[in-house]
């Protein structure tokens, strides 16, 4: 199997990513032109058959999501592109926004058409100012060519899209918090039901998709579809943009077919560990992903293999740590992140993260005791089972997996 490919990332070497002409010349917007004449059922069938799952981390089947969104009846419906990219060590969406803004836009328009949405928001994190500008330019140019706005391509389909800036909160990657943020309020998750699929942004039915998910949609309706679908495995079809960073020689964004092993990704694609040091651990999927030891290096990078091994694809982030790192110190950094990013609304996440930070600091300072392990158990347990939203429920994964995989190192701090 070829190690890295260029299907989703086909346009990354364009001279001028902001040129609509260049995008169209290379086949861009041919997917939209095809889709807009298709019966909606067929659109859902194609997406479902591709087994495309949400690329932000939740991995919800996209075909089903679009189908459910289409079933909501309302005068106005909203489609959102989640470009908050808040997950640490993830930077693939940035690459897409920078090098293929039109691809993302095309995917958004196709999805909006499929679900009958007339309003679109591209929610880009505040730190990507330049990319917000780039996307605004792309929208303007698309509107000029009748690919956005009123009566798109003369088919009676209207879609108004605007770029909205995030306010600097990781929790706004969560759907209902994102909706709150678009509405101009503080990004705190909402009580569900109602789900945002029924009552989302401004109370309208809302469908939120990750940047990468949207970028793949036009691929499925283009001549690259066959090549895309020939990659990967039966359950994990196609390719994935991974963000690999840490102590590797060639960190960056790569498009890989599903099915490579982690060893191949780290040593072949990213060219191995810096300075020939020994591999120690990796964290997969972002800050709330589990920490894995070298025992996992031969696991294949697919949804099914990962699930069987208690790992998570998540956002496609792969952070590699070599032997010079202390796991305890690494976990402490991750914990500081969550202490900073908890929205503060519910007791388990707000107080739990605060307590965990204090306890981990004791490990870091080598003054921890057995009661600290007991406390960690109690706190992580309640956070997992009783937090208000996914942030609180999943943020304990790195700590729990680190203690399990690197027991000795934690004991040595007691």
């Amino acid at each position: 199997m070829k190690k890295s490919v260029e299907i989703i990332s086909k346009n990354f070497n364009f001279k001028n990513p902001e040129s609509l002409e260049e995008y169209i010349k290379s086949g861009g917007f041919s997917a939209l032109k095809q889709v807009i004449d298709m019966p909606k059922e067929e659109i859902f069938d194609v997406v479902t058959a591709s087994k495309l799952k949400g690329r932000g981390g939740a991995a919800y089947p996209t075909g089903r999501k679009l189908q459910q969104a289409a079933q909501e009846i309302a005068d106005s419906k909203v489609i959102v592109c989640n470009a908050d990219e808040g997950e640490p060590s993830t930077f693939k969406d940035r690459a897409l926004l920078e090098w293929a803004p039109f691809k993302v836009l095309e995917g958004l328009i196709i999805s909006a058409y499929a679900i009958n949405a007339d309003r679109g928001y591209i929610y880009i994190r505040e730190e990507y100012q330049k990319l917000q500008r780039r996307m605004r330019t792309a929208i303007e140019l698309a509107e000029k060519e009748n690919l956005l706005g009123e009566n798109i391509l003369g088919k009676g389909f209207n879609l108004k899209v605007e770029v909205v800036s995030g306010g600097g909160a990781y929790v706004c990657g969560e759907g209902s918090a994102l909706a709150e943020s678009i509405e101009g309020k503080s990004g705190r998750p909402r009580i569900k039901p109602p789900y945002i699929k029924q009552k989302g942004v401004f109370g309208l039915p809302t469908c939120i998709n990750n940047v990468e998910t949207l970028a793949i949609v036009p691929v499925l309706f283009s001549k690259d579809a066959e090549e895309y679908l020939s990659c990967g495995t039966e359950e994990s079809k196609g390719t994935k943009l991974i963000s690999i960073s840490g102590n590797v020689n060639r960190p960056g964004v790569y498009e890989i077919p599903f099915g490579l092993t982690l060893r191949e990704i780290i040593y072949d694609v990213a060219k191995g560990i810096e300075n020939d040091k020994k591999f120690k651990f990796l964290q997969l999927g972002g800050a709330s992903g589990p920490i894995a030891s070298d025992m996992m290096l031969d696991v294949k990078y697919t949804y099914e293999d990962f699930k069987a091994n208690g790992l998570a694809i998540g956002s496609g982030a792969i952070l590699v740590g070599d032997e010079s790192n202390s796991i305890v110190d690494y976990v402490r950094t991750v914990q500081d992140f969550f202490v900073h990013e908890s929205c503060g609304k519910c007791t388990p996440c707000r107080e739990g993260n605060r307590q965990l930070a204090v306890i981990i600091k004791r490990f870091s300072n080598k003054i921890a005791g057995p009661e600290d392990l007991a406390s960690i158990n109690k706190i992580t347990d309640i956070m997992k089972s009783a937090s208000f939203c996914g942030l609180g429920k999943s943020c304990t994964a790195p700590l729990i997996s680190a203690i399990r995989e690197f027991k000795e190192e934690f004991y040595s701090c007691m």
Binding site: A169, S186, I191, P193, V339, H340, E341, S342, C343, G344, K345, C346, T347, P348, R350, E351, G352, N353, R354, Q355, V358, E371, A374, S375, K378, I379, D381, I382, S385, A386, S387, F388
Partner: protein, 574 residues
């Protein structure tokens, strides 16, 4: 309507779709513990105390926010649930000061109740409570941020129910602050001191300024003649603090307790309410007959006065110039009463028992002075009053009843109505009608202005002129009407405004945890007090008639103006 069969703790119940687990459990006499939940507010689901277990999913959910479904099997007291709830409680306590013994809410704190119910003995979490300085620069409300458990009840009350927004959220995670913009004092945050936040706070993070020590001191000062006036709604509310049924009329016990505490005379604010009606009724008639500024808006609610002065000063010209009953009483106590009984105003100390925190601010206003001294020296809320009764060792439930003193203790049924929303309006109309028509009012009950609808309207025919009136309660409901006044489309001639929902029975100084149901019970009792009175119109109150003939001459006279009327001015807090 579709029904669902739900099984909670192995007991079955059938409830309509949309019912929450919390509500369904209540029908089975299962009281799932809650903390951030409040029956008169939206569901918040942030404390996570009300966890229950879903048997078939092996997961925990919050009962307050989860709706039932057909065949749901729920456990509310499995070991898993009990352990989980304890963990949540431990996390809350790990960030809460543990000085219960000295806290103002010792014995009435919802967090203490939970600790007791959960049988919490110890916790291995380190107590790393964040401590902050008190915000106590205003005369009415104290904020202790250290005790906040971030339940959000006060923010919803201030932002949504009252529409003020002095309290809000800022920051995130462990820095999440329930407080004011820019962390300013309440004084500088355009707070109207209505105190509603203090009635919903489950712990000791928001409470009334406690003046009980000052009052004890003055009661023990042999050189002072200390008198007390009691507001209309206290007599149907203070019983709550002694486990008596909501709304029970405890007038006699209230008077007896005050005397036991050492007050030289116990008088009735209802008397002063009659006085207010005399002045305000005549003022209204004058404005109607002489093309004065209409609509006229009542001015007895200090929360409303604060709101008008801060937020809508254009409306100040519409306010009645009458002082509130509290202040009218105070003025009379330092003039008429002082002269009649030969005690110099400097030696008279007037204390008022009020359901209200804003009254403390009102009593402190520089213009509220008569004969060079403060009209009202101290204001005690219902809660402080109850604490003093306890400190004085009084067995409130069993104390023998006593009567108010004269000459400031007799009141008509109209005066008694002031505690309920719509009461001032009804009382005023009873007298205004007679003043305008010289006829006796046949039907003295104005049922259209009663009840808990936010804005109540009525039309009354006086001398063949149809006069439209409105009674508003809950300060957020006033915004629409003010807009109408400002753009000239308003049709009312007379408007009563109460800042608190329910009127004074729902005041910011009332027993904590007063639900809407309790307020309705209090209102019912107030109307019963009126019904049982022989005299039900203010202008027929013999003590009032005497006061005018002996001292004030007539309503709106120059003496009346000097003692019983006041001015307002805009207060722009930048």
């Amino acid at each position: 309507m579709n029904y669902c069969k739900v099984i909670i703790d192995k007991k079955e119940v059938s409830v309509p779709e949309g019912t929450t687990i919390l509500q369904a459990a209540k029908l089975l006499n299962i009281n799932i513990p809650t903390l951030c939940y409040h029956p008169d507010q939206s569901v918040k689901a942030n404390c996570r105390i009300c966890l229950v277990e879903i048997k078939e999913r092996n997961s925990l959910v919050t009962a307050c926010s989860t709706q039932v479904w057909e065949g749901a099997q729920i456990l509310t007291n499995s070991k898993r649930v009990l352990d989980a709830r304890k963990s949540v409680l431990e996390l809350i306590l790990a960030n809460h000061p543990q000085d219960c013994l000295k806290c103002i809410r010792n014995g009435s704190c919802e967090l203490q109740d939970i600790c007791r119910q959960f049988n919490l003995r110890e916790s291995d979490l380190s107590n790393i409570a964040q401590r902050y300085p008190l915000d106590n620069t205003n005369p009415s409300v104290v904020r202790d941020r250290s005790k906040c458990i971030k339940c959000n009840r006060c923010v919803e009350m201030c932002e949504t129910t009252q529409g003020i927004g002095a309290l809000c959220h800022s920051h995130r995670s462990s820095n999440l602050t329930v407080g004011t913009a820019y962390n300013e004092t309440l004084e500088k945050s355009n707070c109207i001191y209505c105190g509603q936040c203090t009635t919903v706070c489950p712990v000791g993070a928001l409470y009334e300024k406690d003046d009980t020590e000052k009052v004890w001191e003055i009661l023990n000062d042999k050189d002072k003649h200390v008198i007390v006036q009691v507001a209309p709604s206290i007599r149907v509310s203070v019983g709550d603090e002694f486990n008596m049924p909501a709304g029970e009329n405890v007038t006699g016990k209230m008077v007896a307790s005050l005397r036991r505490m050492g007050f030289d005379k116990v008088f009735d604010t209802n008397f002063a309410a009659d006085l207010t009606i005399m002045e305000e009724g005549n003022e209204l008639v004058e404005r109607i007959e002489r093309n004065g500024v209409l609509p006229m808006i009542t001015s007895c609610c200090p929360g409303w006065i604060n709101y008008a002065e801060i937020y809508t000063p254009s409306i100040l010209k519409n306010l009645s110039s009458c002082k509130s009953p509290q202040q009218m009483f105070g003025a009379i106590s330092k003039s008429y009463y002082s002269e009649k009984f030969g005690i110099s105003p400097e030696d008279i100390v007037t204390v008022s028992i009020m359901p209200c925190t804003a009254k403390k601010y009102e009593a402190n206003r520089v213009e509220m002075k008569t004969n060079g001294v403060k009209e009202v020296d101290f204001v005690l809320t219902t809660r402080e009053f109850a604490r003093m009764i306890n400190t004085a060792n009084i067995d409130f439930r069993n104390i023998e009843e006593e009567e108010f003193d004269s000459p400031l203790g007799t009141a008509s049924g109209a005066g008694a109505l002031f505690g309920a929303t719509g009461g001032v309006m009804e009382a005023a109309l009873r007298s205004a009608y007679t003043l305008l028509t010289n006829k006796k009012l046949e039907n003295i009950e104005f049922k259209e202005v009663r009840g808990i609808k936010g804005v109540k309207e009525a039309v009354i025919n006086i001398n063949d002129v149809l006069i439209k009136i409105a009674a508003v309660h809950g300060i957020s409901n006033v915004k629409n009407i003010i807009e109408q006044i400002e753009n000239g489309t308003v049709e009312y001639s007379f408007i009563e405004v109460m800042a608190c929902v329910g009127g004074c029975v729902g005041g910011g100084g009332q027993p904590v945890g007063s639900t809407l149901k309790a307020k309705e019970k209090r209102i019912e009792e107030i109307y019963r007090i009126d019904e049982r009175k022989e005299i039900r119109e203010s202008h027929k109150n013999p003590e009032i008639i005497k006061l005018y003939s002996e001292y004030l001459d007539k309503p709106m006279s120059s003496s009346s103006h000097k003692l019983l009327h006041t001015k307002y001015s805009p207060r722009n807090i930048d």
